[in-house]
């Protein structure tokens, strides 16, 4: 194994540039090092001006998403040895405005998230004294969709979002489904309008890249297609039995 590896890092300094540039750095190639360790080495020893987000370094906080050799990845869980010859291209996530270097602006997602009412909508009766009962099987029905760490890799991978920034997006819809499918929730009706809108599920053309990119196996593409079925059935029911739907 070689001693070191080249990282070709995208730089963008808005005060002095209109376009990103690429800067090359040589970092040690250690078998335990993730791309994030390489970036930290650059910042600590080579170039303190490099800006990027990171926090937990264990794949649970979702901060460190970047594009590595063209793929959206969590840099804390992407290992340098897997790119052993190098160079490794590190760029910001796609489909988001770049604020600086490897830092992107995710305000769009943060604005969209509350619109799907991503919280448990309780029934009208007051909750029981103890817990709502929920069997392990009932939890399995939504568990997968509750694993989203909001890392935005899915938005970065989605060409629809790239072309149409008004698209609600994979993570937001998957989170809505997490609550729709939770046996304790009664909010499916109030989420319907936002989800079944033109910029909701119907903007999705099932490219499926979001699920490929997802580091937590949430399968947002599956969540969206399932809701297409649900929404279509709801429309059909409303058409055939207008009184019942109301």
């Amino acid at each position: 194994m070689a001693d070191s590896i080249t990282l070709r890092v995208s730089r963008y300094r808005p005060e002095s540039e209109t376009q990103p540039t690429v800067q090359e750095y040589e970092v040690p190639l250690r078998k335990e090092w993730a791309v994030l360790d390489g970036l930290n080495y650059i910042k600590d020893h080579l170039d303190g001006t490099l800006s990027y987000r990171w926090s937990c370094r264990m794949g649970i906080c979702g901060s460190c998403g970047m594009t590595v050799n063209g793929e959206p990845k969590l840099t804390c869980g992407t290992f340098l040895v897997d790119y052993a010859e190098g160079p490794v291209r590190v760029e910001p996530l796609h489909n988001f405005p770049v604020i600086r270097d490897l830092v992107v602006e995710i305000g769009d997602f943060m604005r969209k998230l509350p619109t799907v009412s991503p919280w448990l909508v309780a029934a009208e009766e007051p909750p029981p004294d103890g817990e709502y009962l929920q069997s392990p099987d009932q939890m399995d029905a939504y568990k997968q969709y509750s694993m989203c760490i909001n890392c935005m890799l899915c938005y970065s991978a989605c060409p629809v979002y790239g072309l149409d920034p008004d698209f609600l997006g994979p993570a937001a819809i998957a989170l809505a489904q997490r609550y729709n499918l939770d046996s304790r929730d009664h909010g499916a009706h109030q989420r319907m309008d936002v989800l079944a809108s033109a910029e909701g599920i119907w903007a999705c053309t099932f490219v499926g890249e979001c699920s490929t990119a997802c580091p937590k196996d949430v399968d947002p593409a599956g969540a969206i297609q399932r809701y297409k079925l649900t929404a279509a059935m709801n429309s059909l029911k409303a058409f055939l039995l207008p009184r019942a739907a109301r």
Binding site: P14, G107, M110, D137, E209, R226, K228
Partner: protein, 137 residues
Amino acid sequence: MSEGVRYQEYHPRWYRPRISTFWWLHRRSYLVFVVRELSSVFVAWFVAFLLLLANAVAQGDAEYRRFLDWSASPWVIVLNVVALAFVVFHTITWLNLAPRAMVVRLRGKQVPPVLVAALNYVAWAVLSALVVWLTLG
């Protein structure tokens, strides 16, 4: 939108790269996706062809023979062969993805996706066999 969030929607110094018109050529998965979507054009062609056939039959024997002659011309045959390939591709990709949309829960547990896909394939085979029997039998 609620007052509760302090996010800027736009800042002139943020860099927004333009998406190239040929974005779909940049990744194999995107290319396969676009081909899959374009295959629906050929599905539409088959529907149109079927309607033309039905119309020809309705108009009587002479019209029907004219239609068959036309269908035997080389470019129509080539078109239909190509269309068949795309329609088969369309069907296989559709059936493979069906379990992602159709999640069935029986007695509290999820039916394995492979089984859902398999049942779809079986239904396709059965219906195709039925059509063959009706037309050729």
